[in-house]
Amino acid sequence: MKERSEKFTTISSTPINRLYKPEDISHLVYQKDLNDPAHFPYTRGIHETMYRGRLWTMRLFSGFGKPEETNKRYKFLLEHGQTGLSVAFDFPTLMGYDADQERAAGEVGKCGVNISTLADMEVLFDHIPLDQVTTSMTINGPAAVLLAMYLVVAEKQGVSWDKVGGTVQNDVLKEFTAQNSYAFPPDPSMRVVVDMIEFCTKEVPKWNTVSISGYHIREAGSTAVQELAFTLADGIAYVQACVERGMKVDDFASRLSFFFDAHNDFFEEIAKFRAARRMWAKIMKERFHAKNEKSMMLRFHTQTAGASLTAQQPYNNVVRTSIQALAAVLGGTQSLHTNAWDETFALPTELAAMTALRTQQIIAHESGVTNTVDPLAGSYFIESLTNQMEKEAAATIKKIDEMGGMVQAVKAGYPQREIADASYRYQKQVDSKEKIIVGVNEFKLNKEPPIETLKIADEIRDHQAKKIAQVKKRRDAQKVSDTLAKLKKAAQTNQNIMVPLCDSVRAYCTLNEMMETLKSVFGEYHDPGIF
């Protein structure tokens, strides 16, 4: 029969053959290329028993409005079987502004929870024992400040830092290429990241210091291969910077984790996760001469693709999210966020968030896919695609190496331009119906039924601003200026900024006071507006 189309491609426009056969993978050598789980190069997974031993961490990204409201949502999620917390901050917090500043107008608490001082952080984790949950914080430009706040909250709870586990995203390189919540220019940003890695290696050994993220690169419109290549290239840059600081690779590499997107193209995503594990293992072993197996294992969190959700017929998003989540599980993820169906409109309602959590629980407990490790290994198609993605991503990494590494490539605008090109190409494919999106450019409804969404009150800014005023009245002004002066001095010299930063946090300096102090030394980055 004549085929429906002249060519069949993945969502990233990679051509796919009608049939894959033994000869497509005849060069594969099991022990070298795949090997058993928990064995180099970890293509089949990093744990021997995978989900038979322990399920992935079900971690829903959430935060909105006042810290009090988010604290309530966290307790709700923990009661319903969620196993880790993941904090979404609002834009003022992400960009290092306090709620009472002019720049924060209209945005306080809208896209996440607002944190301006330690007092807010104390409320956020009220009655949540920080030695019993792990917390992931999506924060980048001001990551050092928020980490310091978290550690001081732990201290006040009487939890010692060696018992504190969690993650700060802290992947500044992908901020310049994709997510755009940066603070300082690339070089000082890298210095701060290395300060944090160095500090945590000694003081907070269970903390994941950087979550090297492809998610935002993909959401900004990259292809799957670009996501893979740019993410690993970012990882290489962090490891390189730490080595240049004089750190030993095996002392810190096991605390680097990764964060990928799970998009619509099922097999392409599974192949991407498998290729990522194999590539990172080889990079760590061959390029950085890691000896510890843990340094070579790529552990990753996955989030289903926010950009794939549609405002049209939004309940269909539950189906999209389920398929994406399944790809993440078949790809061997360590933790997973599933998007709620209403997230193209607003932050999720409680019902939508719970359905997203239930999606994971259904995959975990009903589908049976967790019964065996890496069930797709050996598939002619999956293995071919895994190989092909590795090859293409390696070529991109080589190009970045030739530019002098990712920091230089970012300064030259290379990944930014590549992502913008891919994103534009895809939009054209959607506009011309070369790519079909159900409910958007095909199978449309004339009238969409209304859906209920979460509303965030504008009064939150007043509430938060009042709280800052109270904190400022209560705190010791001398301590504020002393600790900020010490912070500035550390930034100007080669002293690690984390210790003075914790002191500034203890003195209830505001987020913006600390960020402005650092910016006065490091400078500020502005978007070059490449399109």
């Binding site: 960009m95 720049r103 950009a307 054209k428 502005h526």
Partner: protein, 136 residues
């Protein structure tokens, strides 16, 4: 001849506020440029003041705003007020992003010329600008 007159139409494409999600705004900027308009993209993290001042300085005919952060009511209003203050109401303001249905009428009443919903194609947006924004 017709093409010539398109070329004179200048559009400032901007992202006000602190949100960094610029995938949409970049696609729109490029689509308008490919359609023959002169496009000025201000980059991210612009205050309403910065956007209005660039628009006047660049002598644009329209401002297109992409807002996904939920701050659209505040930001559109502020930009329209500033344009009025500067006696530049002839600059048309349009936009899109994540904007709930029920906010669209109030925004239009406020003076926003057009709000595009998710699912609008680049062709829809280009066609609207072509029809509704005239060069000087």
């Amino acid at each position: 001849m017709i093409r010539e007159s398109f070329k004179r139409v200048r559009v400032l494409v901007g992202k006000p506020g602190l949100d960094g999600h610029d995938r949409g705004v970049k696609v729109i900027a490029r689509a308008l440029r490919d359609a023959g308009f002169e496009v000025i993209y201000t980059g991210l993290h612009q205050t309403p003041e910065m956007i209005v001042s660039s628009a006047i300085q660049e002598d644009v005919d329209a401002i297109g705003l992409s807002i996904l952060s939920g701050a659209h009511n505040f930001l559109f209003q502020r930009i329209l007020e500033l344009l009025k203050e500067k006696k530049s109401q002839d600059i048309k303001v349009f936009g899109g992003g994540i904007i709930p249905e029920e906010d669209i009428k109030p925004l239009e009443k406020m003076g926003v010329a057009k709000v595009f919903l998710p699912g609008a194609t680049t062709d829809d947006i280009v066609a609207w600008v072509r029809k509704n924004v005239k060069g000087k």
